[in-house]
Every structure is written in structure tokens, then in C-alpha cells.
Symmetry: C2
Amino acid sequence: MIDPVVLKGFRDSLPREEKAKKKIERKLEDVFTLYGFQPIDTPVLEYENVLLGKGGGETDKQIFHFVDNGGRKVAMRFDLTVPFARFLALHYPELPMPFKRYHIAKAFRGENPQKGRYREFIQCDFDIVGVDSAESDVEILSLMNASFESLGISDVVFHVAHRGLFNDFLEKSGCKEKSVEILRLVDKLRKIGKEKVSEGLLEIVGDENTVENIISYITASYPSMDETIDKIVSLIGEETESSQRMRRISSLLENLGIKEKFVFDPSITRGLDYYTGIVYETFLSSLEGIGSVCSGGRYNNLASLYTKENLPGVGASIGLDRLMAALEELGSPLVREIPTSRVVIYFRKGEGEKALECANALRKNGTSTDVYLLEGKKMKALFDYAGKNGMEKLVTFQDDGTIEVKDLQSRESVKVNSLEEVLSICQ
Amino acid sequence: MIDPVVLKGFRDSLPREEKAKKKIERKLEDVFTLYGFQPIDTPVLEYENVLLGKGGGETDKQIFHFVDNGGRKVAMRFDLTVPFARFLALHYPELPMPFKRYHIAKAFRGENPQKGRYREFIQCDFDIVGVDSAESDVEILSLMNASFESLGISDVVFHVAHRGLFNDFLEKSGCKEKSVEILRLVDKLRKIGKEKVSEGLLEIVGDENTVENIISYITASYPSMDETIDKIVSLIGEETESSQRMRRISSLLENLGIKEKFVFDPSITRGLDYYTGIVYETFLSSLEGIGSVCSGGRYNNLASLYTKENLPGVGASIGLDRLMAALEELGSPLVREIPTSRVVIYFRKGEGEKALECANALRKNGTSTDVYLLEGKKMKALFDYAGKNGMEKLVTFQDDGTIEVKDLQSRESVKVNSLEEVLSICQ
């Protein structure tokens, strides 16, 4: 006998989770469609060098990669961004520009599984490619807001910063050469705290004045986005292209009436990613510990590894596994058991015809209906089954030719004479 | 620069196909839900021995398999049936029984790509496990019929046979020991024709009389299912449990008023698969060449490799790629370009606020709306964009403060003074 186990870091999805996942995905897809975003898909398996963006050398340990039966070096996608860049380069001439896409799919990483982190996980990415403007930045921010609204998550705060603005500041502060190390460190602020970051900064930049200055920058978050911009501009000493972009974004958000959901938080850097403009992370006020549930930013030349076409873009990514864990903790109705069938039909020997006929009439009427297929089983087994599946009504056939419809909550029942009556009760 | 190519046998899914695929999947999911079936998912990657059902030995060349960074022998799933068997064995105590599940997901095979066959493909499986009865057989057949109805495919014929009945017949004919070879050969009837099958049968059974008998059996298909059963029973010489099951299925289908969609076609064997009861394939009358678009049958002990629990079941599988190719050939509206946005908003410098505000008002109203984000671009580029995306209406802001709504088909336009009027025109 073979042990029916799954691999470490991988999971089955049972009906309760899978129904919730499908419901969440549909809601997100509906919002994306409302915003004019179109779905795409790419293969799970690609050439290793396409996904890793280089010729040979050491392969990232976190990537599932192998040599296929045809001798090709292949790898399983580890995110949806790299395949999208490759997709853009390949299909550029056929795509409407600017191109707005979303992609909800599995990605794979060999990292050590932790709470909320799996080796197989679902990403939901959405991007606008082919334009660099405040309006497109705000379309993404507005879509992020609409996405969480559609899921009924109201206590969400979007933390926005601007990578270009941080670069402006670092240049003015004379630390441009060390920006990589500084970014990497600042990105950890939320995890390790201000003190540890200050210590680390001192090691990097060597003088306390500059450290103080950088700390002023990354902690300059006022309730009003414009106040924060003013403070940052004063730290830089002048308006820059990036500060003006931020002012414009702030004005557009205000005009849309959604500004109160957004905080300018200069500590957001998105680590060493490829971002060049706005960057953002999304936190749930009541569940800060869970980390960002939606992150992203603006990048230039997304597909530069594969094409000479200049393709600036802005996008965001929702980690569906983490989001579902958050919804679970928040007690959201979205992840509660959703009954599949409202009605269950029980039948005894010789009543098969009646049972299937009744079921199909209910289904034609739009009522999700299950037939308890173990004919004539003890009622206890049936009630267990109906309970496990969260059903509302039980239909049985009586010896006197009537049909009984029992409400499984109130335990009250009515007897009727025709299928039509059953349909109207179960509507 | 890296060549942005995909692997042989793999494909990107562009918005047109992906929208069609999502639409088809939603329709199928809605039907499955109506019938009380619940979704599950399993990992793409599993232990190789779990998927292949054996310890070591030679690995099937068609399977994508490798050793992961932790030294485990792993493989990508090549169908959804084996993972389902493993899933059942692992989660049996938590599942309501009978368990009705569906699973729409990708599977992977290294076979040589042909027209309509890919190395990455989408399966849609649905099964009822935990019961062996005519009613459960018919629930699956009825669901198959409802699935195709929901997709608007009316010229579909379900070819049903019974593996147990064929075994009864082979036993009576004295060919029981050779049933594996005979099944394998008969399965090819549609491809190689009656003559080749006869020749092959003669080699296997050695006498012409028996060959003639087998040919009578596999070609005994009358318009009426019951007539075919009668003929088969006369060939066997007596009623058997299997013939009675077929009679009961026929009667239940008749009672549901869907019998005319089903043909008893004794040549259907489903090759060497694990089936023990009814088996079926589904053909489109106007596209027979495309092969079966939905196949399956009844099996016993699906999970016997992993558990001692006896789990009989009945199920079917739709190959979504083949189905989509069929819909394409049939010119189905399902695979035609579905416009994502009905409305596109054009704006010039300084009109960004108005454009985004108008877009979001339309979206709040349920109208899918796109903003053409390249502000002030030439109108030609805009019309190209609207055309590529199949949009219906164009909104522009006029110098006199009015808003123009242009119908992109009729080229007629109206000028209005308020956002409310735009909403009502674009509803």
C-alpha cells in the first residue's frame, strides 16, 4: 500500500477552502473586468534561462528546475512577473497598448515552508503596461481599493511611497552609491525596528547626521499625504519630478474620494525589486502581523531582458494564500462554509425515478439540489450528510403519494401534492 | 537578449482565449454546483511513487519527473484521477459520503505534441464516489448532458456501453482470458475500421465464428437503447446483473426526458482503463473527427492503492483544450472575442481628474470601463485601441464643458451636460 501523503510545503484544497477560493477569485475577476483588465495565462513550465534571466551559472536553490526528457533545462514558474515580461516580449505586436492584464495562477518555490508560506501558492497579479503617468498609477491604486472593497475588507490601509523620491533624497544626502545597502536595510524597518535600522545605517553611511536625516525621511509619515510630501520636499531641499508625481497622485486620489485609504509611508521600499516609481504595500489594520496582502509598484522596461521595446508599467500582486489566511482570522463570511446544495432529496427503493425527476426539476429552476444516493439508508446517515454539507431542505416521498419538504433548521415540514409546490417552496 | 520562447507543446493563453476559457469554466462550475458537486484542488507536484502507483522501476517517459532540491523523487500530475484517488485515501474521514467532487486544473504529459494535444492541458473531472447504483450512474450522465446544454452545444451524442456486460459476453464466448487484448483492439474500431479489427480478432481468438460473434456484439447499436440491450442479451444468452443495470439506466434516462441524447454503443471500451461498469464517450455530430470531448465510466476501488476503504465511483472528464478547439470550429459564440470594456474614456492634458472620476462612476454603476491612458494621443491610436478591444462607446470631454458619448458602431454621438446622463446612456 502506498502512503497517500503530499509533499512538504504542498497542500490539498478541500471543498470548504476551494469554494472560498473560487468565490474570491470570481469577485476579483469581476472587479478587474469592470476596470478593463483582461486575463492571460502562461505555462507552468518554461525554459530555465527564460525564467532566471541569464545563461548558466548557479541556479537559485528556491527554484524547482530539472532537465526534461528532451534534454531541455526547464523550471517551474516562481512568480507571475517574469513570465509576463516574457509574454509581453513575445506577443507585443498583437496586444492593445497600453495593455492591462490580470493573471491568477499558481507559482512554485522550494523555500522552507513557514506559517502562511507554501511551496505551491496562488498569485493574483494585475498590471498596466505601456504608459508612465500619474493617471495609470492611480488606476492601479483605485483598482486595489476596489478589489478589497469587493471582498468586503474595509479596514485596509495602502502604504505608498516613491522609489524615485527616495533616490532623489539619497543623492542630495550624498549616499547615492550606498543606496542598495540602505534600501535593503530600510525594507526591514517593520521587522527589526527603528533602533536596529539606525545602528545598521551608521555602519553604512558612517556619520550620525546623515543617519538622523535618513531616519527623518523614512519615518516622515503624516496622516495627510500632502503634509508628508511637504516634509519630504523640505528634506530634499527642492521639488523634483518624483515629488510632483506624488502630488498629482494625491490630488487624483482626493478627487476620486478614496484618499483616506492611502498613507504616504516613506519606509516602504520593496527591497531590491525592480521598481522605479511608486511602491506600495497593503496592511489590514486589525491584522498588521500578517504582513502585506497586496504589494507592487512602478517599473521601467519590464521586458528588457527579452526585447528592445521600452515597456514601462505599474502593477500589484495579491498573495491569495496569505489573504485567505487573513480572511480566516478576521472571521470573514467569504471563507465560511458555503453550502453547495440547498436541497437534498432522499429516496427509498423504487423511488429512484421520482427522486431524479424532482432533483432535475429543481435544478432547472435554478435551485442547487443533491440526491442522497444511498437509497433507503438510515435517516441518521442522511442527516449527518445534510449537516456536513450545510443543506437547508430535505425532500422525501410519502407512502400516501404526497411529497414532504422539511426545513432542516426549524425541523418543520409541509406535505404537498405536486412537484410544482416543491419548486415554489424551495425557490 | 534572451529569446522569449515557450517550450514545445506549451502555449500562452492570450486574452481572447483566456476570457473564453474562464467563461466556459464558470458555466461548467455553475452546473456542477446546481448538481451538488463541490470543487477540490490538489498539488501540481507529488511524490513520483504516489502518482505512478508503484515503488521503482522504469518511469513512464511521458511523465515530467525529477529529483527536487531535498532529494525527493517528484512528478507533475499527468491527470486528475490519480491525485483524486490519493486525496480520497488521505481525507476520507472528513468527506461527506457519497462524495461528489469536480476539479478543473492543469495536467502535464511529455508526449509528442499533435494538433489539439499539448504537454500542458486542462482537465475538468467530476465524480461521485462511495456508491454503486443506477441512480448515481444516471446523475453523472444527466450532469454530462446539462454541462453541454449550458455551453449551448446541442448536437452532442453520448455513446454509452457497459464493461461488465462486455465481460459477461466474453466469458460466454470463451474468450475471458484474452479480454485484455480484445478490449485493446476493439477500442481502436473507430480509428482503424471493422475490417482491421476483424483481422486482429482472428489472430487473437483463432476462430471465425467467435470473431463474427464479437463483431455482432460491438456493432449492435440500434437507435433505441432497449433494442440494443435486447440484442446483447440474446448474444449472451441470458439476463445478467450488468444487463439489468443497463435497463435501469435506460429507464431512468427515459423518465428524465433526456434519453434521445444517449446511444448504447457496445464498441466503447475505454481501452485498458480501470472501468468496471458503464463507460462512455461523447461525440459532436457535426465534428466527429475531433474525437470524444467527454469520457469516463464506473470503477471499483478507485483508491485501492492507498487505502483498504472500498470506494466505488462513477465519473467523467472533459478535455477543455479539445472542447475549445471544437467550439472554435463550430463557430460558437463562447470562443468569439468578448469585449472586456464597453466604454472607453479619452482625455487630454488637465482632464485626468475628470476622466478617472467618470470611469469610476461608470464602474460603480456596473459598466465595465477603460480609460485610454495615453493622454492626448492622436485619435487614430485611440480608435485602433478601442477596435482591438471591441469597445462600444467613447467618452470625451469637450471645450464647451459638455461630455460627448459616441457610439463606436453607428458613429453617432450625443453631447450631455452631466455625469448622470453619461451613466444612463452607457448603462
